[in-house]
């Protein structure tokens, strides 16, 4: 049985959920953990989770080539056939796309000019295939690496939360940044059943520095206020607070917050100059990507940064230069930031340990534009773009067939990896974990359903795997 047949059978058989929890040990009840540990921020998950953790049979060896991840999420589903799986179609593709072949990769340089210059550091996956064509469903799917409607999907943490919790033991005492930061998100997936501190620290780029960490009155005013606060709050926030354990946590809470303020390290990461901003395209997305880069370079404990880009849902007027959100405007925004990001990370030597992932939640219909609205509609075939963190640049994984008119086409003809099937969001999730040195087959038994939470679904059946070809 080929790998592809095996996978298809598996998916048919275990489409919605997995078994796997027959074998699990009977554990102390979750409720005990939940309530025995009280106090603000006093939840040390490593301790509570450890007794129940087991590893699935057949231990795997993660690549462990990256220390942090920058995830550029292009929400709305970018058209793959106009970008990273470029298909020229006479009479359809605008002439001014200026496609060129660089490193053997055909790419519209009018849209992706900066990206074209760093293609030798970028790997493109063309055999990507989403599971669903509905934006919210697939966006959540991409972020949690599983079907949101499955039983564990309902409680599943964001991939970034898994990275954050796994990397917690490696955090140094001097590192002050949150492990998982979200810049620019409007509606990001959360920590699921994990403690809330492993959820995304949501902020927006701001030229002055970290929002909410800058005291508008300046440092002197702040110092005076801080002193006054502690003088009048007395022991209410101390270890002997009359209000009990929760209130005793206030001191630590404020102490941690204080460490982010008037902190040169924070300013270096979150503030930026006009010059830097222009280099990244002078857009909100560009500012966020720039901030992400600077956060990574500060090495302050941040392991996963998500930057969201919006407006890729090109049902209408995709090639209309005058339209507010045409493919031109969208790619311009992405390209400037992405190109600068790869260049800068490379120049500072951080690219080797920083995995950059860019993708949407699915692709768009190939071929002719839709007659009614002159756009492209939802399509399962999609691209993933990866760079850095051990990923071998300059390669294309997978290929798709050509497409004539509107209709099917641009399907995977050559998956381009050893599993010999389309590459799914779950495989990218496994790839991220592997690069980060996380065992993607891990199961934790502190989930509220007590059914065992697999980092990557169906790991007990080896359904998904890191795309190892990326690293060779």
């Amino acid at each position: 049985m080929s790998e592809r047949e095996r996978f298809n059978r598996l998916v048919r058989r275990r489409q919605p959920e997995h078994k796997g929890f027959f074998e699990r040990p009977h554990l102390t009840r979750r409720c005990f953990f939940r309530h025995a540990v009280t106090g603000v921020g006093g939840f040390v998950l490593g301790q509570t989770a450890a007794p129940g953790e087991t590893r699935a049979a057949g231990s795997v060896v993660p690549k462990n080539t990256a220390t942090s991840v920058i995830f550029l999420f292009l929400r709305g589903a970018p058209s793959h056939v106009d970008t990273f799986d470029f298909k020229e179609l006479p009479g359809v593709t605008p002439r001014d796309f200026a496609p060129e072949t660089i490193n053997g990769i055909r790419i519209p340089t009018a849209l992706l000019g900066s990206t074209a210059r760093v293609l030798d550091k970028v790997a493109i996956i063309r055999s990507g295939l989403a599971w669903a064509r509905a934006h919210p469903l697939s966006q959540t799917w991409m972020q949690i690496g599983r079907n949101p409607t499955s039983a564990t999907g309902r409680i599943a943490p964001h991939i970034g939360s898994v990275v954050a919790i796994e990397k917690d033991p490696e955090r140094r005492p001097d590192q002050v940044f949150p492990a998982f930061i979200s810049l620019q998100a409007r509606n990001i997936s959360g920590p699921g059943f994990f403690p809330v501190e492993y959820g995304p620290f949501q902020t927006f780029p701001s030229q002055d520095g970290l929002l909410s960490a800058i005291h508008p009155g300046g440092k002197r005013t702040f110092e005076e206020r801080w002193e006054l606060l502690h003088a009048i709050d007395g022991n209410l926030r101390g270890p002997d607070s009359p209000f009990g354990a929760q209130a005793s946590g206030m001191g630590g809470l404020y102490g941690n917050a204080r460490r982010l303020m008037f902190n040169p390290t924070v300013n270096q990461a979150f503030a930026f100059t006009d010059e830097e901003r222009v280099r990244y395209g002078s857009t909100g997305f560009g500012n966020a990507v720039l901030t992400a880069r600077k956060i990574v370079q500060q090495d302050q404990g941040t392991r996963f940064i998500q930057v969201d880009s919006f407006g890729w849902d090109h049902h209408a007027a995709i090639y209309d230069q005058s339209a507010n959100r045409s493919i031109y405007r969208q790619t311009q925004e992405f390209d400037a930031a992405f190109g600068a990001l790869i260049q800068d990370l490379d120049a500072s030597g951080h690219l080797d340990r920083t995995l950059v992932v860019a993708c949407g939640e699915f692709g768009r219909t190939p071929g002719q534009l839709s007659a009614s609205r002159i756009g492209r509609d939802h399509y399962l075939q999609m691209f993933f773009v990866l760079a850095g963190g051990g990923v071998q640049g300059g390669q294309v994984i997978g290929s798709t067939n050509d497409t004539g008119g509107r209709g099917p086409g641009a399907f995977t003809v050559e998956p381009g990896w050893y599993r010999d099937r389309d590459i799914r969001p779950e495989d990218i999730e496994a790839t991220i974990y592997s690069a980060m040195g996380i065992d993607w087959t891990k199961v934790r038994y502190d989930d509220p359903q007590e059914r065992g939470f697999y980092y990557v679904p169906l790991a007990d059946d080896d359904a998904y795997a890191p795309v190892d070809e990326l690293f060779t």
Binding site: E17, W141, N187, S212, A213, G217, Q246, A316
Partner: protein
Amino acid sequence: MDRFDFGSEAARRCVLAVLLCAGPAWGAEGADLDWEAPDGSFPDHGGCSYFGPQEGLGPFLSAAEDMAAMQRRTWDTRRVLAMLPQSRRQLAPARAGAGSATGACSGIDDCIHQAASSAGVPLTYLTTDQEFLRRVRLDLTGRIPSRDEVVAFLADTSDDKRERLVDRLLDTPEWADRWAMFFGDHFRNTRITAQVNRYPDGRDSFHLYLLESMRENKPYNQMAQEMLAAEGTSDGRTYPQRYSSYSHYESTYLNYAENPVRASPVGYIVGARTTGGPIQDTYDTLAFITARDFLGVSALDCVLCHDGAGHLDSLSVWGAQATRLNGWRLAAFYSDIPRFQTWRSPARFLPNNPNNGRRVNANYYFVHDLAPGRRQRSNQGDTAGEYLAQTQGGNRPDRLHTDTFVEPAYTFGGIPATSAGGRLRQQVGWHLTADPQFARAAVNYIWREFFSRGIVEPPDQFDLARLDPASPPPEGWGIQPSHPELLEWLGGAFRDNGFDLKWLMREITTSETYQLSSRYDGPYNPLYEKHFVRHQVKRLSAEQVHDAIMVASGRYASYSVSRTLRGIQYATQFSDVVNVPQGNARRPRSARLLLQSFTPGDREETGRSRTGSPLQALNLMNNPFVTDRVSPNAPTGTLAEALQLADDALVAHLYLTVLSRYPTETEIAFAVDYVQAASDRGAAASNLLWALFNKTDFYFNY
């Protein structure tokens, strides 16, 4: 006392009474440890007819009079505070209930006292008036009390003032706002989830339904029945069969003034829409959310994929016996609903459409049952009208491989499964609300909102086979509720009182158990939590923090959430917790960043959390939402008022307004010294106001 000058003898006496009734000095100085055992009552000062019961808690003086009075006032604090009663109220000794030998109890306090005394865990004392006022105001209405309310409540010397306060709060519009927010969380009303886009209109419509239900104090069983049987458009608007022209379309579809979003419970059904599978997946989701939201039984989700045996054995005695077939039987009650799709604006097909080709952003769902006995096969292969247990693929494992239909039946126990006629979805509403578990789950969810912990915890994980001490579960299992008799009594009484939510909340908030102090003398073990011997502090929710800062600063915002909800002042009035307004144009995102840092969840995969995080501290310290409101430059609101007062009155004013309590003697002395030592009085007052917003007793409901 001659330095008080309120113009009239009556007013003067009232102010005195205010200070005398203020209860124990509050603060960090350890004074509370020295208090003597009490005589259990406050001195009766009489003569305060100004605050007679008929006056309720109306404003103490008119705002102008009050201001004028305050400007003339200075406080001889030391002398006044020296007169405060150094006592606190103690509980009456636990009643030796007649039924205590058998474990039976009746009423919240009886049950809690009995259980605590048999566990040998001592109860703490009753909370003070000013603590009680802030607590119950936040819990019932989501807002902190105004300064006037604090002053008036403390001045009130009647014995039943706490009960009257509760009654008054239950009748405020804020009560409806706050509990519409609670049920919005509970029923997960949000615009967009991984599965379904309700659209702003649909979300607002469901929100309006919850809000109106609260305003009418609709019986909770009626709410459940209406939501389960809901039909119509998901935005509550009306639509013609077809549009004759664009202007017809414009005057109906686009005309929100004439055809507004109306309250509709259809949003509850819409939220269960499950894509990527057969229609049975949607029926199963409906069964699951019915069980979770109304019965507190989340385990049905598991059972809808596989029998409980072999899966839930270590989790739930009930679950281990539950079968997938019985899950389908509950789901079958929903099988008259054909697959519902988004109905889009048909504008672009109409002649003379000036926006030709552009979709108008208004979408809705239409939920309507098939006629009884009718079966419909859709072009997607769905069979509606009966629950066909033959499916392959989708979101749940394949059902049967034979062509079998499942009869609807309510199998949760105790209720005859005979159908009483009516539509299937009406039937399930009747079965459900007649089930004692419906009342149990409801009172437990509400109880948890007040006590931070359910009698069954977590409240959505009931094990139906471990509730009754009279029929104990198998070896190795304990009874699940911490207070089974109380749960049974409270559920039964809730049902007997017509599922009246106000009755339930009155019963809870007027109990001694709820009115226990959050302080505890002597060693406290975290395991005592389940005995409810001490009130658990909880930090303010996102909306409560936002609203409290607005109320206390006296500087209000005005938000537009959507086409329907405009001119909103309070975050508690929002119809959602995500996609909420961001703040004003000058301070973009300030309100949203503040709200988000207090983790309201997303009403989908992430629940509301009361955990603390440094991000909250950062926002309270630095977010312009706070710092603008305390800025000494061109001060308005509370700060401007305070700056017109003498130093000691200024301090008292700020403490009363922000913390809803009087400062202690030490606090006044310290703050007055601080203000007087400062070179810039405005800046000093501003700093003090800022510090109060960051104080532990602002951050917590205690």
